[in-house]
Assembly symmetry: C2
Homo-oligomer: 424 residues x 2
């Protein structure tokens, strides 16, 4: 089963909607926030914790896992779900964003990106096809096309070039997916039988993961036994592929990018190239404009965003999926998100504060620990500081999304939106 | 209620025994291993985790908590139990071991130890009385007397001096306890009524924690509201005090130390000054000899020991309580304890190993994660590596003690002892 997206409710005033995204690793209730598990772990959280927090989908970084421990090793282990013991859904990025960030260590060509490892300086090549192959080995539920995300501010010329290159790369990624037999496009109206039929067709092609002579039978947990090694290989028939719209804050280029990608018919669409330094008003305008260009019946993902306020404003503009390191990274830097704003826990004013992080919060941390204890842990450099604050921040993000979703299902989004705007 | 020790079973061949230690913060089943929570946290573990692991008593370090956040601050918070949200028992050391380790930064006199902080170089003074006062402010269930632990190897002269000084300091610690109204001696045969009566007497003395005009009533959680500030102060009436036997590996000095401390009648007795570099056979001999000098009806605590084997050998020699940083510190250094010995998880041989840390272990980590995943986490420097391995190692230690205790209750200790000796 590849992904299938259902819309359950739409706001009458804004573009906000609530839905369900069906994957081979469970149903994701949208709008959804995806915690970032860069190297196959959300820093400081156990997988039990993540399940208890209600995390339905994680993001993992292709670049980091490719570098260490390597996608072949994870593929041999049966894919990332099995490697890290995570039974729910995983979205992987393409690795492009990290590679582009290497700056002096990379060179972009039509074929792909040559780059040097940040770990040992070794040379590597990432192409649209390689990015798909790595993500297939990881057994990702939702793969992203390799794109070129230009730095902000960018010249019109650079933006135009990146939009065209991103489209050509998206086409190649899609073709690589189809060759592999992965299900990279699922019309939302198709039933399970139609999907199973198409899996059979895909599998009869040039499929390096399976012996063509063997009938392809889906086994529980979506792991398929490869005949040669006896290793469990990820079942790539369940992977879907999203295109990434580029174009900076230029509406004409965003329109061009969205239209070219729509013509390629992806399972979902991401808005990339934002939250890279542009003013917030421009980001919101670009999100609103771009989301309006994307098909209603496919999920829309705003990459790398953002603050709790950004999530609510993104949903109001038609976004279904978000990821950001903010709740986890800020937690490690002693910053807690609360209903009354952010707290800097190293601040001396909390040394004797017996309140929980957020008196209105029901998370396991707020039920048990005080600000004075958390401050002591941060000042002492104790691991538990990051563990507890990460737990609370993720709860805050996920709970914000749950309440937002409820407001949509009950037709009360306008009220929720207004309340959040006045508090955040 | 101060502590009360019951013996439930004694081995017929060795000195091993199983018992119950009753404290104001729950019953401790002995023999017991106490995880080390140096600064009010067991590194990498949440208090929920510790409870789930079945930890009944933690050790906290007086020196570290005195330095940061300070015992006054913790006292204001109602004591360490409340500060760190730990409802079960806490044993505190005296701070002496850390202060003695400062070497060039400290000077030992008859009065006590002058030392400089390892954090900021500021000057401090630790005396037997101050050590008790700090531990009372922390609200410790089991306090330790300030002792002088000499480095190994030590001259006979140094050992003799340290034994005498330790006795004189133990006497002063005991006197300071009695002045404060803390229950620092509980004959095992005394009932609850007798204990309550003695609490009332203690409280009518020079008690800086309570208003003498107020009747002393025990409230749940053992926190007492002090009338002047409204802060919750620890209920020091529940604290007990252990003496520490010194004397290196010299039997005559150990005998002298044990006899002098017995004459002072402590709630329990610790064997100190071991695991400081002496050969293991000498340590075991000294433990056996010293435990034999201590009263049967009081708990015996072997400080800072040790490996899983040391625990079993210590129990066989009459020890009831142990603490050691080994399971937690080794975990952070990628060393896992298993039924088949130690694993160094950074070793390349685990890169593709899909086994759990210990196939015979039922802990939450062995039920869910593979060695290859743990190795990846260690190689990547991820926090989760230490979190999961600490959890497993603590489970291994606690489970070893539980199985050992069961063997004593069922009269099968000899068999257990033999099996462990052949495996560890």
């Amino acid at each position: 089963m590849a992904i299938k997206f259902e819309i359950l409710a739409e706001d009458k005033v804004t573009r906000a909607r609530a839905g369900r995204l069906h994957t081979a690793h469970g149903v994701i209730e949208t709008p959804v926030f995806m915690p970032v598990g860069t190297r196959g772990t959300v820093k400081g959280m156990t997988q039990d914790d993540l399940e208890a927090l209600g995390v339905q989908i994680l993001l993992a970084n292709t670049y980091h896992l490719y570098m260490r421990p390597g996608h072949e090793l994870i593929g041999e282990a049966g894919g990332l779900h099995r490697f890290m013991s995570w039974p729910r859904a995983i979205l992987t990025d393409s690795g492009g964003f990290q590679v582009m960030s290497l700056k002096s260590l990379r060179r972009v060509t039509e074929d792909g990106v040559w780059f040097r490892s940040h770990l040992d300086g070794s040379s590597h090549f990432l192409s649209p096809e390689v990015a798909v192959e790595i993500q297939l080995a990881l057994g990702s539920d939702i793969m992203m096309c390799l794109d070129e995300c230009v730095a902000y501010p960018a010249s019109q010329e650079d933006l135009r070039r990146s939009v065209s290159l991103t489209t050509r790369w998206a086409k190649r990624a899609k073709e690589r997916c189809q060759v592999s037999g992965a299900r990279c496009q699922t019309p939302a109206h198709e039933g399970v039988n139609a999907e199973l039929a198409s899996l059979g067709q895909g599998n009869s092609g040039d499929n390096s993961e399976h012996d063509p002579a063997e009938p392809h039978v889906s086994v529980p947990e979506t792991f398929v036994l490869t005949p040669d090694t006896g290793h469990l290989a990820p079942d790539t028939s369940s992977s879907s592929l999203f295109g990434i719209v580029q174009g900076g804050t230029d509406q004409a280029l965003r329109r061009q990018s969205a239209e070219e990608l729509r013509a390629l018919d992806f399972d979902g669409y991401a808005v990339g190239g934002l939250a890279v330094g542009e003013p917030k008003a421009e980001m919101y305008d670009t999100v609103e404009f771009t989301a309006g260009l994307l098909p209603r019946e496919r999920p829309r993902y705003l990459m790398g965003v953002g603050t709790p306020e950004d999530l609510v404003e993104g949903v109001a503009r038609g976004i279904d999926m978000f990821d950001c390191v903010m709740p986890t990274r800020n937690a490690r830097n002693a910053c807690a998100f609360t209903s009354a704003g952010k707290l800097s826990l190293k601040n001396a004013c909390y040394a004797r504060d017996e309140m929980p992080l957020d008196p209105t919060c029901g998370c396991a941390v707020c039920r048990r620990y005080s600000r004075r204890y958390l401050r002591h842990l941060f000042v002492s450099g104790e691991m538990l500081a990051a563990i507890l604050t990460t737990h609370h921040n993720l709860h805050f993000y996920l709970d914000t999304m749950r309440r937002l979703r409820q407001s949509l299902l009950f037709g009360e989004f306008a009220e929720f939106h207004c309340r959040v705007r006045s508090h955040l």
